[in-house]
Subunit: 83 residues, 2 copies
DNA sequence: TAAAAATATATTCAATAGGGTATAAAATGA
DNA sequence: TCATTTTATACCCTATTGAATATATTTTTA
C-alpha cells in the first residue's frame, strides 16, 4: 500500500486507510504514542494545522514512513486531488 | 532524488536539499507561495510545530510530492534517525 | 576584503493546536 | 433493536504557530 499525498486531506485519508488496515481504533493508535483520540480524528479529517511533530508520532504508531520525491506528471490512473 | 523522512529534522534537511537543487533562495520559494522567508528557515531547521498546510505549500513550491509507505526494516546504508 | 545576498533570530499579535475532559453522533454487533 | 464501540465535536487552557517587520549572522561573490 503506497499512497501519494499532496494535501492535508489526502494525507488524512491515507492515514485512516493505513490505520484500518491494521485494525486499530483512533484511541488505540493515539494512546500508543501518547495522543488523544480527538487528535487522530482531526488529522484524518484533513486539519491543515496539524503539526509535523504530531504527524510523525502518528506515522510511527502506524509503522509508516514518508518519502519526498519529485512530483510526477499526473498519469491517467491518478485520482485527482492534484493542485 | 528520493528521500525517506522520519522526523521534522530529516524532512527539513530534505526540503533544504531540494530547494538548493533548484537554485532557489528561501525568500524565493516562500514568496512563490505566499510565505515569509523566516518560515522556510524554521521548517528547514526541523521545527516540529510546522503545520501541514504550510508544509504542503512548500512542497508545491518545490514541485515535490509525498509518499506514505510501510516502514522498511532499516538496512545497512541507512543513516540512522530512525525511531 | 568589502559589499551583497542569504539565512537565522527576535518581537508582537491574532489564531489555532493539542491535552484533558465530556458528550453527541455514527457505526458495529450481539 | 439495544448495547457497545468508535468517531466527531465541544469547551477550557496553555503553548506555539506564522505573518509582519526588523536585525544579526553567515555565506557568497565581485
Amino acid at each position: 500500500m503506497i499512497q501519494k499525498v499532496v494535501s492535508p486531506e489526502s494525507l488524512g485519508l491515507t492515514l485512516r486507510a493505513a490505520r484500518k488496515d491494521k485494525g486499530l481504533s483512533q484511541k488505540a493508535v493515539g494512546h500508543a504514542v501518547g495522543m488523544e483520540q480527538h487528535t487522530i480524528s482531526k488529522i484524518e479529517k484533513g486539519n491543515p494545522g496539524t503539526g509535523l511533530g504530531t504527524l510523525f508520532r502518528l506515522l510511527s504508531a502506524l509503522e509508516l514512513e514518508l518519502v519526498v520525491q519529485p512530483r510526477r506528471k499526473p498519469s491517467g490512473d491518478d485520482l485527482g486531488d492534484v493542485w
